[in-house]
Symmetry: C2
Subunit: 385 residues, 2 copies
Amino acid sequence: MQNFTFFNPTKILFGRGRIADLAKEIPAGQRVLITYGGGSVVANGTLAEARAALSHAAVTEFGGIEPNPSFETLMGAVQLARETRSEFILAVGGGSVMDGTKFIAAAVPFPGEDPWDLVTRKAPVQAALPFGVVLTLPATGSEMNSGAVITRKSLGAKLAFGSPLLFPRFSVLDPTKTYTLPPRQIANGVVDAFVHTVEQYLTFPTYAPVQDQFSESLLRTLIDVGPITLREPLQYEARAAFVWAATLALNGLIGAGVPQDWATHMIGHELTAKFGLDHAQSLAVVLPAMLEERFEAKRDKLVQYAERVWNLREGDAETRAHQAIRQTRAFFESLGVKTRLTDYGIQASDIQGLVAALETHGMKALGEKKDVTLDVSRRVLERAL
Amino acid sequence: MQNFTFFNPTKILFGRGRIADLAKEIPAGQRVLITYGGGSVVANGTLAEARAALSHAAVTEFGGIEPNPSFETLMGAVQLARETRSEFILAVGGGSVMDGTKFIAAAVPFPGEDPWDLVTRKAPVQAALPFGVVLTLPATGSEMNSGAVITRKSLGAKLAFGSPLLFPRFSVLDPTKTYTLPPRQIANGVVDAFVHTVEQYLTFPTYAPVQDQFSESLLRTLIDVGPITLREPLQYEARAAFVWAATLALNGLIGAGVPQDWATHMIGHELTAKFGLDHAQSLAVVLPAMLEERFEAKRDKLVQYAERVWNLREGDAETRAHQAIRQTRAFFESLGVKTRLTDYGIQASDIQGLVAALETHGMKALGEKKDVTLDVSRRVLERAL
């Protein structure tokens, strides 16, 4: 086990009806800015429910935070929060709203001229408005971590930043508030949580039996409940297990003390930026190709993954490991998430541009051993055609 | 899954050399009270190492916190902390020092006359001095939870209390700082962590696949590394896995959203109070008998436990479940922890007094369904002879 620091102060309020707890979590009389995205939280009543629970507070609202939340949009919320002297922000939504809210929380008290400096890390996050979350989309784990990804359209930049000051004070995880999600978003969420786990697990063996087995627990849970919750969106138990697994997949716990990869995410980001793939689609395309391309480096963990996650015990170790990769791909496909570049209209001739984008963004040494060079990334993309 | 609230803000500093981080975690110039127990942290140098890391602070020390920390002893520390106007407490030790420090932290700012009211819950914990931990004994989980058990000798009382204000700000978990523990304490720690997990797992099925599999991960880890770390105390990897498993066994995570039992602990406490058994010894005696006595109520989970934890797949379900209980007992015995009342000189004629003590302490309806009556407890003790 490697040395690690683990810190996660987000209070989780899990289960049916927990939105009512907002009344206790946010002090009476506070000036609260509610942030949200498109109209779904309006249409399905979740926004109204949050508003009702905050009848004791002075509420302002800011809607319209888009997928891949943009600096340009978010600065409108920063201005509104400053004008209304908001003391607390409540994010009602999924990854984009949560990530955007983390930026708003850090930008409002930022004393410098340009809050974009927080995202580029030119300036440290030294203060943040407290904020909470009502989750409507299980996928990104942003509800229980301190990171965010922000896009600045005018610069064509999409950057990750974070700070220990940017953990949500609380997150309401009411599985029933995710019932109205379209199947595509559920399938994407399952893939997203699955790949988050794999990035922290499928590297090389260190002796970390707790972390390994926790990761395997999350992967098996996602394999079991993913298809059920996609097919039966109103089945509480499966949805609840999915929500909790997705949160734990990226709250820092399973990655504490073990090597981490994240090369699949980095390459996937370029697919989203250049061709507009959903984040999870990009991961579903890159991961199986990455595992095949880096088979030797990941062999020991792949064998463990085959046995413990996919219950493959027949044949030699190498055969089982390859079979596990095939089953991973088949799992994504079974959820309706395509796993080939060509499924999204991306051709061999597009690869050079993707590799160039990786180079531009400084992604020349990815992965748990920093040996995923641009050449390796190119071969991964070729395998993914 | 049941509704739950999960909150755990303790920062974990895990690994070799992390005591040096005290210099960063405790602000310069603070007045710090270091609390510790007997001489072991003096003898093995851990206290000196902590003191050295706090050269930037004004340190006072209070030693002599005994096993089953007593109100009488702890009030001496409360007085010292008040006299020295301590701003932070650093506990260097195991469960007793950590639990005692939680009491001190709550008692120092307590405005009432008698801080014992905090333990009896006559008065709520409304403030607490911040405190941190340097762990020297993996077992109780106190390093990452907000509960404590305090004894008042003059009243013959041993009571549990807690508060969300009583999480350690940080806990240094350096496995090498546990190397000098005697085998008995290591064996006890493994049993303690094992039974903590079982109390939150072996109840009745709710659909909570993440929690179930996390618990099974901890149990398998303890079964694997317990004997190794007992036999090879200087083997870092096994000790590290044990330390992390013991912490996660009682930090609130695996018990979130599932039924919990704790009847074994309640009966065990009487054995400790009346006959001086180590806490873990009392658990090792009671648990196998409890599982047999409540076989029907726990049948489904016992079958799952047999298959997933002990890998028992032959024979019918009932046979496997009984076999799992036998293997649990054998596991404790293999660590050198005896599992029969008579091993500790306790006879059938002592049982009436133990049941009377349970009655006196209001323990008439224990367990996950509150159906462990005094009669059931009596039968458990009879089975444990």
